[in-house]
């Protein structure tokens, strides 16, 4: 049909299928690289913070993974300096969700005749293997101190533990901690001080 041939545009548009946009531009790569560096920098500390709250390694890893995905999905376009408080706020929400879910699950499980996961009692062969550490006594002392600290952190009220770990372990300043916790800077100082007093009362003999 020659009529239709004349109606065809003199230029050709690329066949764009939505979702297949070329991401090879430099700004996108730079953003991905910045996000990668950020996540690599916070992931282990975030894991320790989650572990202190949840007291379960796999749950803590799940919480960190969810927080990473949520940050990447919803906030990766935000300025990089906002990522840290945002990330820890997401992580804390995730930890709280998991704690609530666990409470419900424990209540349900308490009604069932069979309780407990048999896999949890199996020792990890790698962890059980003999260590070639040259200073086993010193290592044992540190292990004991860490164990006492983890126990004391687990017994702290949630907000105090959060303020303490974000300040001491992650090194956030008061303003960033306030952003991550969703409260005022004065509140952060109060929670932090109370956490410090409680920990000192419990661990004072071990550390000071």
């Amino acid at each position: 049909m020659p009529e239709f041939a004349t109606l065809a545009p003199p230029y050709s548009m690329p066949a764009a299928s939505h979702g297949d946009v070329d991401l090879s531009d430099s700004s996108s790569n730079a953003r991905n690289s910045a996000l990668s560096q950020f996540l690599a920098g916070v992931e282990v500390r975030a894991f320790k913070i989650a572990q202190a709250a949840l007291r379960h390694e796999d749950d803590a890893l799940d919480a960190v993974q969810d927080a990473m995905l949520q940050l990447a999905r919803a906030y990766s376009a935000r300025p990089a300096e906002e990522w840290k408080p945002l990330f820890y706020r997401i992580l804390e929400n995730r930890i709280r969700d998991m704690q609530r879910r666990r409470t419900v699950r424990n209540r349900v499980m308490s009604w069932l005749p069979f309780r407990g996961d048999p896999d949890e009692d199996e020792p990890d062969p790698i962890a059980e293997a003999a260590s070639d550490d040259p200073l086993p006594v010193r290592r044992l002392e540190i292990d004991e101190a860490m164990s006492a600290l983890e126990k004391a952190l687990g017994a702290l009220p949630r907000r105090q533990r959060q303020a303490f770990l974000l300040r001491t372990l992650e090194g956030l300043d008061v303003a960033q901690t306030a952003q991550a916790m969703g409260c005022s800077e004065g509140s952060v100082k109060t929670h932090y001080f109370r956490a410090l007093q409680t920990l000192r009362a419990q661990l004072g003999e071990l550390y000071v």
Binding site: S28, A40, L61, L69, A145, M146, C183
Partner: protein, 147 residues
Amino acid sequence: MSRDLNGTADFERRLHALLEESVQRVGGHARSRLNQARHAALAEAARHRAYLPARVAVWIRRPLLWMPASGAVAAAVLVSFVLWPPHAPQGYPAAEVNHTTVEDLDLLADRDGMDLMQGGDGQFYEWAMAQAAPSRGQGGGADPNSG
């Protein structure tokens, strides 16, 4: 009292060192899973970044799709003007007032909340002043200059 503050600062340093040690000791299994999680998050970010402009372009190309959304926004603006309280306190948005109230409740509900206020020894205030004076280098968690 300053001896006590020095002790607190020393205690903070020791705790920080111990926590750092615990970070160093995180095992290979956990590190491997964190690595996988990071890569999954980066893939998610790239996918989202690619998907978002395409969706925006679709919306811009279809003006008819905007009509319900613009109508809803216009209606919401109109309703907010009609229902907005005429004597709202200036400079204190409602959200912030509620936020502060919740925060105060949070502090008061804390089990040792009143202990701090009724202690009477001013230890917290002394500590807070030491935090505010970076030249003295006491306290402040991991980074004494940061807070």
